[in-house]
Symmetry: C2
Subunit: 216 residues, 2 copies
């Protein structure tokens, strides 16, 4: 099994999402006791083209066995490694409101590869407490120190619009390497830090838009 040159260009978001889906699918195949699966079988699971699965994987190496398919356990292990889920990322969430706590307690954010290390808030009444599953709520003042101490490499912004950009900058300064922003502002790219803006309103508006068009 050979590997191509290590990539430097970012992976297209569509590819990344398909690989996440693939990983999820492999987990369920493994749980079902399936040892080996062809790209055709996998493609049937979610509605995808089998060639696309092969192409997606081929960018990163040769993971299959001709005439046989893919060994589920092997491919899953390779994928996890590839996606950087072999090591556990420590997450810091700014904003201990409902959204922040929902994310902090979510099994999805404490799954393979991720662990929510702390919540941060400005509200003195919340600071010192912890979320339902025990994620401590700290004062934003302590952010810089705790990012380093806890090894937080991913920051999440679950705060109102106004504070988002400065807080993103603060996180970047503290050494966070990636930021997921839920506030309805576009946080600009920061040097050396990956920023993903994720305004949930846009998805709602998208639905509204599609409905409006279908109606017409």
């Amino acid at each position: 099994m050979k590997r191509p040159e290590p990539r430097t260009e970012p992976v297209p978001e569509a590819t990344s999402h398909r690989l996440s889906l693939l990983l999820r699918s492999l987990r369920s195949l493994e749980a079902a006791g399936v040892r080996t699966a062809s790209s055709y079988e996998i493609a049937a699971r979610f509605s995808l083209n089998s060639a696309q699965i092969r192409k997606d994987l081929a960018q990163f190496g040769e993971f299959g066995v001709r005439g046989v398919g893919y060994r589920v356990a092997d491919l899953k292990a390779h994928l996890k490694d590839l996606m950087g889920l072999g090591v556990t990322h420590a997450i810091g969430i700014a904003g201990a409101g409902k959204l922040g706590q929902a994310l902090a307690d979510s099994p999805n954010f404490n799954a393979e590869g991720f662990r929510v290390a702390a919540l941060f808030d400005v509200d003195g009444r919340k600071v010192g407490g912890c979320s339902r599953t025990g994620v401590p709520i700290r004062d934003v003042q302590a952010l810089d120190g705790l990012v380093k101490k806890l090894g937080i490499d991913i920051g999440i912004l679950a705060i109102p619009e106004a504070g988002a950009v400065p807080l993103a900058q603060r996180m970047a300064g503290a050494g966070v390497r990636a930021i997921l922003n839920f506030a309805p502002v576009t946080v600009p790219a920061l040097p050396g830090v990956l920023v993903k803006n994720l305004d949930l309103t846009f998805f709602l508006e998208n639905l509204s838009f599609q409905l409006a068009i279908a109606k017409a």
Copy 2:
């Protein structure tokens, strides 16, 4: 100002997101007292190509004035109309946990074009209560009746994985026209209902992936 044929094909998600961004930008321009803006000026606000803005809009009509640009108030009104935000969509959220309540109380989900009409839960202790901003929590049993009574046309799934698909089907049966699913399962397309699966884990995994590649 002429309009092209009404569209039937779905709008690409990228276009839809850009138009959401454009709408947001127009609101801030209007708030700043700007009356008219060229595609070049608007493009500079977010980092886009001016031609793309013109092309995006051109699919739906002619909204600009040659030699002048776009009248901010006019374009905003047209965009809102186009995106189906002229009428208010009633939203029903399944799952009155932290995420469900966060969304129910979010100003973004109660903005122009949207209003959260009800939360639904199976937990008898929650039923009968309401969220911080007063969205009533109802028993899932009552879903079918309330969808019709409250005119709910958009359903949101903020529940664990297991119940998501059946509940989506139930919502579809009750007459919901679009579903936004936050549970980590792919809810398949249902006849006559728009389904958008939005697994937040995928965005985290995407960040992890990009970090892993950058490191290599």
